[in-house]
């Protein structure tokens, strides 16, 4: 396996470099582990996602470049406190299913977190978590003859910046910020001390060497540099940023914190009145639920929120709780409307 360590790269190069390695990789080539970090903060979204999911004004105000990758997933905030790692290998050497490929390519990264002293595990398909808190996220793509899996080691994280750069209404932003703090963690928080990039790098390198065999230090080949130069132009273009693939639409406004933890904003209309709900569903249970709108009083909204918070997001359980909370309530709003509003979240796409 080649080991390519490039230190601090510009935001653009931190994306184009691994795409270039993947595009240049031939069927018989050695796998590559590449490591680097961005020299300044930026935001990046997945191949099929529209850049409108970012608050463009806020990104401009903060001077954040906006980029799009050829991998899946949604909007992310990246800065120098994240060590970015990528594993690229010929497609015919990768397991044939997406889930198995993540297991094979992220297994060593889990091992790296364990070397650092955390009881980390691969949770769901592609998050590395400790006790339900996300330590590292990953995405993957088949690019020409290669499969590339990309992840990060979060040394520290600016939760406020992440919440600020998404195009969310104020209520959803508050909920997202709170839930994100709970379920997106950092090495510093978990270990109670600052972890240097070198320490994280050593853990990653040792784990991948154990899994893939000796790592041969290398630099980008002339071909990889040539492809990267081409991609620098492509990835800077408006056509790429707003590309044809970026046609994601969803019936439901949702923001993902980790696999199994999402924040939703839903609404229903009854008799000309509106009910709005903002909440998180974390491993199937409701958290941080709040109601607003013309269909109910603030007092009833608070009572409903208290009754539903912490419940499993299933119709019968929610209906029982909503009925109890609304026993003495007048007006057109029915318990069924409240449950319908919450369960609209089920119409959202799995991301």
């Amino acid at each position: 396996m080649r080991l390519i360590e490039l230190g601090a790269l510009s935001p653009l190069r931190s994306q184009t470099t691994y795409h270039a390695i993947a595009r240049a990789l031939g069927p018989g080539d050695d796998p590559v582990l590449s490591l680097y970090w961005t020299d300044r903060p930026y935001v990046c979204t997945g191949f099929h996602r529209p850049v409108e999911e970012f608050d463009q004004d806020e990104c401009r105000r903060r001077g954040l470049p906006v980029l799009r990758r050829q991998l899946g997933g949604g909007p992310v905030y990246l800065d120098a406190d994240q060590l970015l790692f990528q594993v690229t290998l010929p497609a015919d050497r990768a397991p044939a299913s997406v889930e198995a490929a993540y297991r094979a390519l992220l297994g060593p990264a889990v091992g790296a977190f364990r070397r650092l002293g955390l009881d980390a595990a691969l949770t769901g398909t592609n998050d590395i978590c400790v006790d339900g808190r996300k330590l590292s996220g990953a995405g993957m793509a088949r690019i020409d003859d290669a499969v590339v899996c990309v992840g990060n080691v979060i040394l520290d994280f600016d939760h406020d910046a992440m919440a600020a750069i998404l195009a969310l209404d104020p209520g959803m932003r508050r909920t997202f910020a709170a839930v994100q703090r709970r379920y997106l963690t950092t090495l510093q928080r978990e270990l109670g001390r600052a972890v240097s990039r070198d320490e994280a790098r050593d853990a990653i390198v040792a784990s991948y060497a154990e899994a893939f065999g000796p790592l041969e230090p290398a630099v980008l080949s002339a071909e990889e540099e040539r492809v990267r130069d081409e991609l620098d132009v492509l990835f800077s273009s408006r056509e790429w940023l707003e590309g044809e693939g970026a046609g994601w639409t969803d019936e439901v406004r949702q923001a993902k914190v980790r696999g199994g933890a999402r924040v939703y904003a839903t609404q229903v209309e009854r008799g000309g009145a509106e009910l709005r709900a903002t909440f998180a569903v974390v491993d199937g249970k409701l958290e941080d639920i709040a109601f607003a709108g013309t269909a109910l009083s603030a007092r009833l909204g608070a009572r409903l929120a208290a009754a539903l918070d912490g419940l499993v997001a299933e119709r019968e359980a929610l209906l029982r709780a909503a009925r109890a909370a609304m026993r003495a309530a007048a007006g057109p709003l029915r318990p069924e409307d409240v449950v319908d509003c919450v369960l609209r979240s089920e119409r959202g796409r799995a991301t």
């Binding site: 997945g46 191949f47 099929h48 050829q70 991998l71 899946g72 997933g73 397991p95 044939a96 299913s97 997406v98 889930e99 198995a100 490929a101 993540y102 398909t125 592609n126 990953a138 995405g139 993957m140 793509a141 088949r142 044809e244 693939g245 046609g247 994601w248 639409t249 796409r349 799995a350 991301t351």
Partner: protein, 158 residues
């Protein structure tokens, strides 16, 4: 290998090693796409093993009607579990129509890959285009071998 007929009256619809296979069409051996001749046109989709190994689809983006594709070129892209991969064409020709319903709600490809989850309708450029694909005589054995191999590798559940 296990090939169970299902239902008994439709011999073109079989279960092979736990996955559904239709014998009224041909298959690309590596990409797990299917192609079915429909008059002058060819309908294309993902087979049951293809959708199972990809997982729950979150997005499908397809090229536009009127565009030409060659063998192995991208008909579009799919996304599942933050993985993005190409949908490669098993034949060459002009795209006549795309399945807008699948693009809007890609779960239909997981639920009904051979029916409502079709992807593209194409007018082929060569009449013998389907000859290089796996036909109904070989398909059950090929499909069983792939499914059993995936299981051995731990790629599919037992």
């Amino acid at each position: 290998m296990s090939v169970e007929e299902r239902p008994a009256k439709d011999l073109t619809n079989v279960m092979v090693s736990g996955y559904r296979l239709l014998l009224d069409r041909r298959y690309h051996a590596d990409d797990h796409t299917w192609a079915r001749q429909e008059g002058d046109l060819i309908r294309i989709g993902l087979d049951d093993l293809g959708q199972a190994t990809t997982g729950d689809l979150a997005q499908i983006a397809l090229r536009r009607a009127g565009e030409h594709v060659r063998h192995g070129e991208e008909l579009g892209t799919l996304e599942a579990q933050k993985y993005v991969g190409p949908l490669r064409s098993p034949v060459c020709g002009e795209i006549v129509a795309t399945n807008e319903a699948a693009a809007r709600g890609p779960r239909v490809v997981n639920e009904d890959p051979y029916g409502l989850g079709w992807l593209v309708l194409l007018r082929p450029e060569e009449h013998d285009d389907l000859a290089g694909l796996v036909g109904p005589d070989e398909a059950p054995a090929w499909f069983a071998k792939k499914a059993d191999g995936f299981r051995r590798e731990g790629v599919l559940s037992e």
